[in-house]
């Protein structure tokens, strides 16, 4: 059974300076509110892990929480660049950001390996690219039966896994549906896990296409309505495409970004 607690309490207990933190949600159900709480609590030196950093990591990086980023596609979907991520990589602002870059297939399989308690995953990946030259986390591996050479990537085993979901019951069983990304794998790969949900209900009614993650494998569940905004929660609210477009302007300028974080995050009330 996962304790149903507050977001503030959960982040305080689960996320420490220097931790590796994976926050998943593939466009859908991105745990923005949890990211804001990490910024508010001033966590530092984090290794941030995520297939698509999206706005949530642009904010964490711009706020100086991150030492390192592990990712596979760092853009603003449908809009363009993540300006804070670029500023950190290109100009070391507000601090240098080490990066480890993978492909989507590589990242997805690294989560699978982590969730499966294996030290590595095997895929037909990265072939013919220069990604392998940039990272020690991409290595050739031979098939013991055919002799064929494939690619191995190490398992992701984050200290903390964070996702947002639609619902939980009072025992902390979590239900999510719609696009599922690599959320389940992220949680199951992590040593500690936090799920924010739109609502806590008495009974989880079955939903077509839905999955349930039992509360007993989770560290904490917190009710945070609209906790994915400006991402979306299928069945609850749509993606705020306008905010994604606006973010480009906000994040383009260091001062405007900082003012936005002060106003919308540090004040305790994120833009909803």
């Amino acid at each position: 059974m996962a304790p149903v607690t507050t977001l503030e309490q959960a982040v305080r207990e689960l996320v420490h300076d220097g931790d590796s933190v994976a926050m998943e949600g593939f466009t859908h159900l991105i745990p923005h509110a949890a990211g804001h709480e990490i910024i508010r609590q001033g966590r530092r030196e984090l290794e941030l892990i995520r297939m698509t950093p999206d706005i949530v990591y642009d904010q964490l990086i711009g706020a100086g929480c991150a030492r390192r980023l592990v990712f596979s596609w760092g853009g603003n979907p449908g809009v363009g660049s993540l300006r804070r991520l670029r500023d950190a990589v290109e100009h070391e602002w507000p601090r240098p950001l080490e990066i480890e870059e993978h492909s989507h297939a590589g990242m997805a399989n690294r989560y699978v390996a982590g969730a499966s308690n294996l030290p590595f995953a095997v895929l037909r990946g990265y072939v013919g690219t220069q990604l392998g030259e940039q990272s020690e986390a991409i290595a050739p591996i031979g098939c013991p039966f055919t002799g064929e050479t494939l690619t191995a990537v190490p398992a992701l085993r984050p200290d903390v896994g964070v996702i947002h979901a639609q619902r939980a019951d009072r025992k902390g069983n979590v239900q999510l549906w719609g696009i599922l990304g690599a959320q389940k794998e992220c949680l199951l790969a992590a040593s500690r896990s936090l799920v924010t949900v739109e609502e806590v209900v008495d009974e989880l009614e079955p939903v077509a296409g839905g999955i349930i993650i039992p509360g007993w494998v989770l560290s904490a569940v917190a009710e945070v309505p609209r906790g994915a905004h400006p991402s979306y929660a299928h069945g609850y609210y749509d993606r705020d495409n306008d905010f994604y477009r606006e973010w480009d302007g906000i994040a383009r300028d260091r001062e405007r970004f900082t003012a936005w974080i002060d106003e919308h995050v540090m004040s305790g009330a994120a833009a909803r």
Binding site: M51, G74, R239
Partner: protein, 256 residues
């Protein structure tokens, strides 16, 4: 589908629309397409809604057989899940579907392309000290490797059509590396730009200009290319989008 007397109301195609329509026409009916957001998504949906109703759209967010009525801004929009035959996890879409060789056509864009259609979507400048940090490869490395063939869509200028890409994010047409690496597909089958259409030479894999868009000269395309461009003996002109194509495309966009 053209309504009588309505043809005159259709405004001329923009360059973006021309590219989209050109890409849509490249899809055979029933083709299983692995599409990214933006122009590829537009093109595949346009194909599905015009001549190729059985085109299967797979988005890397895990939606198989999505049939969106409006164009998603992001690759994981709810519309895709609601209209899909099946929604699977991201690990599954890459392992059981892309890697398994079930994709007929992948769409890719890039910031840079070379004469063998090698693509760079990672950095401009040095990897460790980049001039511009681009979003990165995302799904592209494996899409380029595992799809049967690729459609590349990219605007053409000497900044994007370069002698040598700054970073190799996704493999192009090269026969030698594809054979050596044991890749199942042939790589890019066509490159569609805002100026024209290029296809690889069957023997060498080098891109050859085979078509120019209406109003574009071969010379203009040469000038927008950072290497000495090969040009086919018989360069034709792209058929302009029909009124039907434009109407369907604009209806899709208006609904977004």
């Amino acid at each position: 589908m053209s309504e009588k007397g309505a043809a005159a109301t259709v405004a001329p195609a923009t360059s973006d629309e021309l590219q989209t329509v050109t890409a849509a026409r490249e899809l055979a009916d029933g083709a299983v397409c692995f599409v990214g957001i933006g122009l590829p998504s537009k093109a595949a949906n346009l194909a599905r809604l015009t001549g190729s109703p059985d085109t299967v759209l797979i988005y890397e967010s895990g939606t198989i057989g999505a049939k969106p009525t409006r164009l998603p801004l992001s690759i994981g929009d709810g519309e895709l899940a609601e209209t899909a035959d099946s929604v699977v996890s991201v690990p599954e879409i890459f392992n059981y579907w892309l890697q398994a060789g079930r994709i007929d056509v992948g769409f890719l864009g890039a910031a840079q392309i070379d004469r063998y259609a090698n693509l760079n979507s990672t950095v401009i400048g040095d990897y460790d000290d980049p001039k511009v940090r681009l979003p990165g490869g995302g799904g592209a490395p494996e899409i380029a490797a595992m799809a049967r063939e690729l459609i590349v869509i990219i605007n053409q200028s000497t900044r994007s059509f370069v002698e040598r890409v700054d970073f190799l994010s996704a493999l192009g047409t090269g026969h030698e590396p594809r054979a050596r690496l044991g890749l199942p597909g042939k790589g890019p089958r066509v490159v569609i730009t805002d100026l024209g259409v290029l296809r690889p030479d069957h023997e060498t894999g080098e891109l050859v200009l085979v078509r120019t868009h209406p109003g574009v000269t071969v010379e203009q395309v040469r000038e927008a290319t950072g290497w000495e461009l090969r040009v086919a003996d018989d360069v034709s002109e792209t058929d302009p989008p029909t009124d039907d194509e434009l109407r369907v495309l604009r209806a899709l966009e208006a609904a977004s």
